[in-house]
Symmetry: C2
Subunit: 220 residues, 2 copies
DNA sequence: TCCGCAGTCGAACGATCGTTCGGTCGGTCG
DNA sequence: CGACCGACCGAACGATCGTTCGACTGCGGA
């Protein structure tokens, strides 16, 4: 990347306990992962240098290496956090019991919530290109998650709870795409998460058109 | 990027006229832009080296520079192609006349079609991070396009053609997100573009649920 | 026949990348 | 007080980046 960098920000020391200066910073690894995930999303993983990361953390590049193993380890840690959040949804009681449609709607709701709660980490996951082994591993796990949703869409369609189309797999792709597109514009505080869930559920299951009868909102 | 590269492919000479070898290649700039856009999407713009690009074109890095001005110029050319396609939609007769909903549905249909026809270029546009001046310019243009759609959604909502929600701007974001998410999975030949248009239109305007009355498909 | 020139290439440039290393500083504890 | 240690830093490493340069090649027009 040769061009001039965007605005550029950051530089405050680090974690919660705001002491004078150089008092007792003690970076814990997870807070550095958080910083890294945020910068990765701003610049893109490949365009982010370790200099960028260490500057965002408020220390030099060599100090930064005292706390983390390397760039790819930071990426992996952030992706694991995102994947843990997503796969956790699939094990919730409401995701494994009930009619296919009820389970699907629960998962969509929770997916929006996890997305909002772990925005930087999930954003990172959704923008992977698969250049390193770590990225390919995460992409594989993500495909597993999408496959689970696709299976549920297929079930719900077979049960007559969703409109039969030419291909339920396409419906599943569109549904996942709709939910995942949130990372491109949603920012915490912009609108309440509950309102966001309601909007996504309505769009996905009832559409934008007027004059259609209400068919029961998401299990709230 | 230190890690091992993904599979790696490509290497055939270049353009349509399949001559023996080294007969009369004559690379035209637009075909190189196409190659570049494809590789940019596979690896990501920042992770793509000029070596990668020239190899995909079948020549050396220095030969490649004989035909193109540089990496960023290739990006700009690809982005211009995507933006031209998208903004062209807004000038079509069916996009400027008729009820807000009719115009909106026409634009969505055409947006899907342009997305399918210019898949690599639009994909590139939708994955920008804004690291260079070129990227920020393209992001600005893209925001203009999204704003046009958002205005139309607002009109259609005010006219009672779309269900009133807490915020039409959110509906517009979701609609754009749904359409744009196609670049993450659609590949030419996977399903017919007409079928894709129908699926997206149904999902966006009528939702996935069963037992709702048909409300008239997109103007076809 | 010879010239020009587009196409190709190897080699190298300065810059920046991720990472390592040796050493300094300032607290903590025996 | 002195040994120790975690936090921190400057400097440098080899590799790779985007880009430039000069030279070679082979065909078309004069």
């Amino acid at each position: 990347m040769t061009g001039a960098r965007p605005p550029a920000r950051e530089g405050e020391p680090p974690t919660g306990t705001t002491r004078e200066r150089r008092a007792r910073p003690t970076y814990d690894p997870s807070s550095l992962v958080e910083v890294a995930a945020r910068v990765f999303n701003e610049r893109g993983y490949d365009a982010t240098s370790m200099e960028d990361l260490s500057a965002a953390a408020g220390i030099t590049k060599s100090s930064f290496y005292h706390h983390v193993r390397g760039k790819e380890a930071l990426l992996r840690a952030a992706l694991e956090r995102a994947l843990d959040g997503l796969f956790g949804i699939l094990e919730e009681p409401a995701a494994v019991a009930g009619s296919p449609l009820t389970r699907l709607r629960h998962i969509v709701r929770r997916q929006v919530e996890v997305l909002a709660a772990e925005l930087p980490h999930v954003t990172l996951l959704l923008r992977l290109r698969g250049n390193t082994e770590t990225e390919r591993w995460a992409l594989g796990r993500r495909r597993e998650f999408d496959a689970a949703i696709a299976a549920l869409v297929r079930e719900a369609t077979a049960a007559g709870e969703l409109r039969a189309g030419p291909d339920p797999a396409v419906d599943a792709r569109l549904l996942s795409g709709l939910v995942n597109s949130l990372v491109d514009w949603y920012r915490p505080g912009r609108i309440a998460v509950d309102a966001l869930v309601a909007e996504v559920d309505r769009m996905a299951f009832e559409g934008l058109l007027a004059n259609v009868p209400a068919t029961g909102g998401p299990a709230s």
